[in-house]
């Protein structure tokens, strides 16, 4: 049953192409229906037993093994299906049938990444999920932009590193069926000589995908060029694949190497945190602000993952979901005023809130979550990560990481205020407020942001996270 979460969207994507080209509305609603069905199916399947089919025996054992559990995978797949559904609901891109097909393919491939319990399977879906994004960039991005190739080159380079690392691990360990259920496995025979190389391969792939500074330059270009529904899903979920990889694969399988590399990763995370925040401060393109703020926020998650502290790791899990929710919300809200006013430049817009109170309200909540307002989901992740960092003895990283919180307040308010507040700009037409449908597309995300902010306990305590920590700490 779990495998249907992967297979059905991909099949649907192929079947959609059988529809007549003009059936745009039908295609859209099929996409929305499948996403939400997958969402509820995921809830229904929580804790279902893993499913495994034997696959390879030479040169090492690899199984077609998928599982959901209650852990981080479960929450990310919920996030994935929810954000895809919301993103598709209000979309009005051209050639919608093909677009929805690409999005469903993306949904299936990413579900595969997060449900795979085998490294080879994981690597397979990892590369598969690049394809729809590449085609969306080519087909729906602006003309004469090289962002599609940039995206592909960066991420395929990472994918090759991942594949090599998986192969090396499989040859040395004899099996790649390791993720998730067998987290207790731990009896890694990977020696230090090969271990560091394997770690480097994983870390390189995950760092590009996340992205971690300095591998991030593909990201702002991609985010700016992708149409809103796609960027909402890519920034919300696809960028989490790298962090998920760190938490679910690298932490349990290579604990010694994590210890050894923690220093470097701390530096990179901190640089990303501060760097992203100050660059976001001076951007005039609303999407660029969110893109660079993502760099900053994801750096914080890297700190939490490599702190080796249960609280911080729980916080990292919370922030993974939280960032997904509010970045999807931000990109969707930005799209809504961009399609209204034909611009997303802070210099150009102003005072939209007077005529668009609903849109302003929606943007307010997601922006507040992004700047870490206590009571919303961003804060819950932040405080857990930072408290854990400090408590684990990483005093200075925790203190430095406080500064970007102030910067986040500054750039998020700038984004919100320059667009929504101030006097109305005379030559920008003030088009009508959100329709009911557009409001419904934002509402689930907003509700989830509040719920996660009030009680992140279930996510922070995901089973995966806890056992990963005990593993890391066991080596101390």
């Amino acid at each position: 049953m779990i495998a249907t979460l992967i297979v059905v969207p991909i099949l649907a994507a192929v079947l959609l192409l059988l529809l007549p080209r003009r059936a745009e509305g039908t295609a859209k609603w099929i996409g929305v229906a499948i996403s939400f069905l997958a969402f509820f199916a995921t809830i229904g399947l929580a804790g279902a037993p893993d499913e495994s089919v034997r696959w390879l025996q030479r040169p090492f054992t690899a199984n077609f093994h998928v599982g959901l559990g209650h852990g981080l995978s479960y929450w990310i797949v919920l996030l994935l299906t929810l954000s895809t559904g919301c993103a598709l609901m209000a979309t009005n891109v051209p050639r919608r049938r093909d677009f929805v097909a690409q999005m469903l393919f993306l949904l299936g491939a990413m579900a595969g990444v997060f449900l795979a319990r085998d490294l080879v399977l994981f690597a397979l879906f990892w590369d598969l999920m690049l394809i729809p994004v590449f085609f969306i960039l080519l087909g729906w991005g602006p003309e004469r932009s090289n962002s599609a190739w940039r995206y592909l080159l960066y991420n395929v380079t990472g994918g090759v590193a991942l594949l090599l690392a998986v192969a090396a691990y499989g040859v040395l360990e004899g099996s790649t069926d390791l993720i998730g259920a067998s987290l207790g496995h731990g009896a890694s025979v990977v020696g230090n000589g090969w271990g560091l190389w394997i770690f480097a391969g994983f870390a390189f792939a995950f760092a590009i995908k996340t992205p971690v500074w300095p591998f991030h330059t593909w990201m702002p270009a991609t985010y700016v060029d992708l149409p809103a529904p796609a960027v909402a899903v890519v920034s919300a979920v696809q960028s989490k694949a790298g962090l998920y990889g760190f938490i679910a694969i690298v932490l349990p399988l290579l604990p010694e190497q994590v210890q050894a590399a923690a220093g470097i990763m701390f530096v990179l995370g901190l640089v990303a945190l501060v760097y992203g925040a100050v660059v976001a401060l001076v951007q005039d393109d609303a999407k660029s602000i969110v893109a660079y703020s993502s760099l900053s926020h994801l750096g914080l998650i890297v700190l939490g993952i490599f702190s080796g502290n249960a609280l911080a790791l729980g916080g990292a899990a919370v922030y993974v979901i939280a960032h997904g929710l509010f970045s999807a919300g931000l990109f969707l809200a930005i799209d809504q005023f961009e399609t209204r006013e034909g611009s997303r430049s802070l210099k150009r817009l102003g005072g939209l809130g007077a005529r668009n109170p609903k849109l302003a309200g929606g943007l307010t909540i997601v922006a507040l979550a992004a700047l870490g307002l206590p009571g919303l989901c961003g804060f819950a992740g932040e405080i857990l990560i930072l408290t854990g960092l400090y408590a684990s003895g990483n005093v200075w990283p925790a203190v430095i990481a406080l500064v970007p919180i102030v910067l986040a307040a500054a750039y998020m308010l700038r984004l919100f205020q320059d667009v929504m507040q101030g006097p109305e700009v005379a030559d920008v037409p003030q088009r009508p407020d959100l329709t009911l449908l557009e409001l419904l597309a934002l509402a689930p995300l907003v509700v989830a942001i509040v719920l996660l902010g009030v009680n992140p306990g279930p996510v922070a305590g995901s089973a995966n996270v806890q056992s990963a920590v005990s593993l890391v700490q066991g080596t101390r």
Binding site: Q283, P374, I383, A410, L413
Partner: protein, 652 residues
């Protein structure tokens, strides 16, 4: 019950937010009703609070050491009374004040949300819940400062207030880090139980972090600059948030964390000093302001400086008493000013007022009572509380702070009387051209109410605004008498206040090290009164004596034009923040965006691509296209392998 107390205002906010257009005028009534109901519930719960260890209710748990709950103990009860009581009255007042505004419902949604946030802050039983409330009140403050969001100045003021408050939030977060690392819990009970056994440095660090939060929220130096700007919000907002409740959150935090402050002399010295300097700075800057709300804002800053000084040095009862009395008389002052502003169609410059005692007798009496209370006129509430704070510093061994407190009391008397005299005495100057009065022409054009003014018929009845003010005047006069009967007040035990103020202060152990003051309390009181008298007299001579009234216009103009520039620039705090933080951050960000990203990082990637291209160009010569040549290379390769194996043995 405690949940109802806590969530009713939130429910009101949600209802007004969702159904504002349908509710129309009822939105205000609904807002006021929910807050006043909360007040009634607080009254009903008061008995339980006094008898046990407070009312408790668990909420959720995030992780080990991060569990949340509600706690209503005497300390939070006092704040709850002020928040819901004064807040409820201000809600009623607002129904009148905001009656002409298009966004009437939105205003009450925000106000109710603020009350909810403030209740979260004081009802939380742990530091993280406190931080949640701390952030939410900051948000409510942001919403309400920027309420008229079409005014660029209001938008800028709101952003400034929010960002500076976030600086406070991270201070509080830092405090939580330190305390959690040392005690593995975030609940008050858990932390304070271990307060005595913590390393002194740990406690001082934690207190420092917590005080950064207090400084930002309570407008203490050097994080005070947002408060005067916050007067961009509607006047009831200034009364509720920026005078009576939110800005005193810092006082609450320090009083709540008394067990920490008790064991850290460094923290006491730091907080006491900052409080005293803030009191002095606020008072001095108040002397050169002309906007009636900015005068009150600086006086708020100054009075909170007193409170912080009091709780900082360990005179908790005195500091809390001053919070308590200040909430009443400052709300009275702001609401009185609001009546004037409302009547004068959004004129806020006192130079354009004058002689209003006859035209606005009610506002005159309200402001007079408020002013007398704030300057410490004998018998009014401020007299007891301010005296207690000033004397408290001496009792706890800070003679220098004592001196600053005394001087500040004199200055307070001066600038408050100055405001009163310029506004209400002499003759009306509203029709005198601005230039003659020295009013700068470039002041922000007030666009306050969106509905065209002049629809006098549309205004709510005057009693809606007068009754709350009248009700606030009563405690402004008498609230100080609860001091009799608190533990170390003059008439210890058995006085009228022992029933409740005395009870609520029993939580604070009087520290053994409190020294015997060199000056007896009666003498200190006389000295303060003398300074107050001098201040009031100077103000009288300069602004109200017949010689001054005669040529008021020229005198005001001269004073406006010759004021010492550092004072009118508010001692350059804003400029310093701009220069040291804002500009460098923007410059660094621009440098990263324009140089590091495209040149350095993408440059490195481009170099790799160029390397691949170069290799290809160099190697293409090998690709001749001659099949026979390729075959030869293959044969030679095979031959090479053969030779290798012949020479070095077998494969493995």
């Amino acid at each position: 019950m405690i949940f109802a107390l806590w969530l009713l205002p939130f429910a009101g906010a949600l209802a007004i937010w969702a159904f504002g257009p349908q509710l129309k005028r009822l939105a205000g009534a609904l807002g006021a009703a929910t807050v006043l109901t909360s007040f009634a519930i607080a009254l009903a719960l008061a008995g339980q609070t006094f008898t046990g260890r407070g009312v408790k209710a668990p909420l959720v748990s995030w992780a080990q050491g991060f569990s949340f709950g509600l706690l209503l103990d005497p300390l939070s009860l006092l704040w709850v009374f002020v928040i819901t009581g004064v807040g409820g009255l201000i809600h009623v007042y607002s129904i009148g004040y905001m009656s002409g505004d298009r966004a009437f419902a939105r205003f009450f949604a925000y106000m109710n949300f603020f009350v909810f946030a403030m209740l979260t802050l004081v009802l939380s039983d742990n530091f993280v819940g406190l931080l949640v409330g701390w952030g939410l009140v900051g948000l409510a403050s942001y919403f309400l400062i920027g309420f008229w969001f079409f005014k660029p100045s209001a938008v800028a003021a709101a952003r400034k207030a929010f960002v500076i408050n976030v600086v406070g939030d991270i201070g509080l977060m830092f405090g939580i880090f330190v305390l959690f690392a040392a005690t593995h819990t975030t609940t008050y009970a858990g932390v304070f139980a271990k307060a005595g056994s913590l390393a002194p440095l740990t406690v001082t660090l934690a207190c420092f972090g917590l005080f950064v939060a207090c400084a930002a929220k309570s407008a203490q130096l050097p994080l005070h600059t947002w408060l005067p700007d916050a007067m961009e919000g509607p006047t009831p907002v200034s009364a509720l948030i920026h005078a009576a409740t939110m800005v005193t959150a810092g006082v609450y935090l320090i009083a709540r964390c008394a067990p920490l402050w008790d064991v850290s002399p460094e923290a006491r010295a730091l907080v006491g000093t900052i409080g005293a300097l803030t009191a002095l700075t606020g008072a001095v800057l108040g002397c050169v302001q002309w906007d009636i709300k900015r005068i009150l804002a600086y006086s708020t800053m100054s009075q909170i400086g007193y409170m912080i000084m009091g709780v900082g040095v360990g005179a908790y009862q005195a500091g809390i008493l001053h919070f308590y009395t200040h909430a009443f008389f400052k709300a009275t002052l702001f609401l009185g000013a609001g009546i004037l502003i409302h009547a004068l169609h959004d004129e806020q410059d006192v130079r354009k007022m004058g002689g209003l005692a006859r035209r606005q007798p009610f506002a005159f009496w309200a402001m007079t009572v408020g002013t007398l209370a704030i300057i410490g006129f004998p018998g009014l509430s401020g007299f007891f509380s301010k005296d207690a704070v000033i004397y408290g510093t001496l009792e706890h061994g800070y003679p220098l702070l004592y001196a600053i407190g005394m001087v500040t009391a004199g200055i307070t008397a001066y600038y408050m009387c100055r405001m009163l005299f310029v506004t209400f005495f002499g003759s009306y100057r509203g029709d005198v051209p601005s230039a003659q009065l020295g009013v700068a022409a470039s002041t922000n054009p007030p666009v306050a109410h969106e509905a065209p003014s002049g629809h006098e018929g549309a205004h709510a009845p005057a009693w809606l605004m007068q009754v709350p003010v009248a009700l606030l005047m009563i405690p402004s006069v008498i609230a100080g008498y609860v001091w009799f009967g608190s533990r170390d007040g003059p008439l210890a035990y058995g006085g009228p206040g022992s029933l409740w103020f005395g009870y609520f202060t029993t939580n604070f152990a009087t520290r053994a090290e409190a020294v015997q003051a060199a000056v007896p309390e009666w003498l200190s009181t006389v000295l303060v009164l003398a300074l107050v008298g001098i201040g009031a007299f100077v103000a009288y001579r300069r602004y109200a004596a017949s010689a001054a009234s005669a040529n008021a216009v020229e005198r005001l103009r001269a004073e406006s034009l010759t004021a010492w520039r550092p004072l009118t620039r508010a001692l350059y705090f804003d400029d310093a923040i701009e220069l040291v933080f804002v500009r460098p951050a923007s410059a660094i960000g621009a440098a990263f965006a324009r140089v590091v990203d495209p040149q350095v990082l993408d440059g490195a990637v481009r170099d790799v691509a160029w390397l691949a291209g170069w290799l290809g160009r160099e190697m293409r010569a090998l690709q001749t296209g001659l099949v026979r040549g390729y075959a030869l290379v293959v044969v030679l390769g095979v031959a090479g392998f053969l030779v290798y194996f012949a020479w070095f043995g077998t494969v493995r």
